[in-house]
């Protein structure tokens, strides 16, 4: 039975995606949302 190494490929892809996202400003978008109370998440907006 072949060993499972797919996780290596997926992890490399994930690192690539994280890097691209970090460089194109995606972190700022999620950070801006995350540092304010989400009224909609609470159910009052």
């Amino acid at each position: 039975m072949r060993r499972n190494n797919a996780w290596i490929v997926l992890t490399v892809i994930a690192i690539g995606l994280i890097t691209v996202g970090a460089l194109n400003g995606e972190i700022n978008v999620m950070f801006t949302k995350a540092i304010y109370i989400c009224k909609e998440c609470i159910g009052i907006g």
């Binding site: 039975m1 060993r3 499972n4 797919a6 996780w7 997926l10 992890t11 892809i13 994930a14 690192i15 690539g16 995606l17 994280i18 890097t19 691209v20 996202g21 970090a22 194109n24 400003g25 995606e26 972190i27 978008v29 999620m30 950070f31 949302k33 995350a34 540092i35 304010y36 109370i37 989400c38 009224k39 909609e40 998440c41 609470i42 159910g43 009052i44 907006g45």
Partner: protein, 335 residues
Amino acid sequence: MADRTKKNRVKHRRLIQLFFAAASNSYVTGFATGMIYQGDLKKVCAPGLNCYSCPGALMSCPIGSLQAVLGSRSFQLSTYVFGMILAFGALLGRMVCGFLCPFGLVQELLFKIPFVKKIKHFKGDRVLRNLKYVFLVLLVILLPMLTKASGDSSPYFCKYVCPAGALEAGIPYIIHEQLGTVGAAGGTGALPAVTGLTTLPDIGNAIIKPAAIGLPAKGGELGFLFGWKMGILAVVVLLSVMMYRPFCKYVCPLGAMYGLLNPVSLYRLRFSQDACIKCGKCARACGMCLDPTKELNHAECVRCGDCVNVCPTDALSMGFGDGKLSQKGVLSKQA
């Protein structure tokens, strides 16, 4: 394997769950002041479902973050958030659910409450498990992407479904709102931390009443949506008493994504057919209603380890990697 070792394994998982839930929500100042953490850790996604509007949350919820990016007019796709989810899934699979998710822990603790009848199997259970993929595709991905013509779209899953947000963020917020301490200044997160404000007031060191920062007066915020979210939370709480992890089985979009990676993740369940005596104890112990001998590393497996603990012959094990290959080509735990 000695019974003592197996008992230690169950004990360690609960300790890990408690530690991670506490650590990822350890911004104690937030609970005291009603203000959320605004530091740099919020740039990182937590592996499990943990609302970032929780006063104690140090990291961002991956599902909330994914909706935020997909719903932003600045982005069509998410790479950073999706990459983080992919990394967690590729390395751990649904071990995140079994060990690291605070809301999973809440459900497991509720399940320990005695109840007249605990439900394990029912007709339609397996079909209903697909509902979480509907939530994932529709509420988390498609609707945020497709409804931003007039501005950033809503986080539909967070807004209409997520009971974790209602529990971790809604209830603490309402408590502070009733006490009149919402937006107390001071320390990290001195801002009122409320969405929708285009100009933040100069609050100095004053205690900010809700009305001063544009919120309705006390009691005026609690409309239908709040009742809806609390109703969903109540249903999930009740179901969690009656059955094992109902939210994880039928609703959680994050578990849906991690589950797709279960068959290939680094952390995995291992099974030795040589050692198996087909006693069926593993299947009876499985709270997710799986037979580990036939459904190894299934998408529904939350890697709780209960099957490993009850196996009398150590045919099942759990860990990083495949373990040692036996002569018959069957994966088995290395002696």
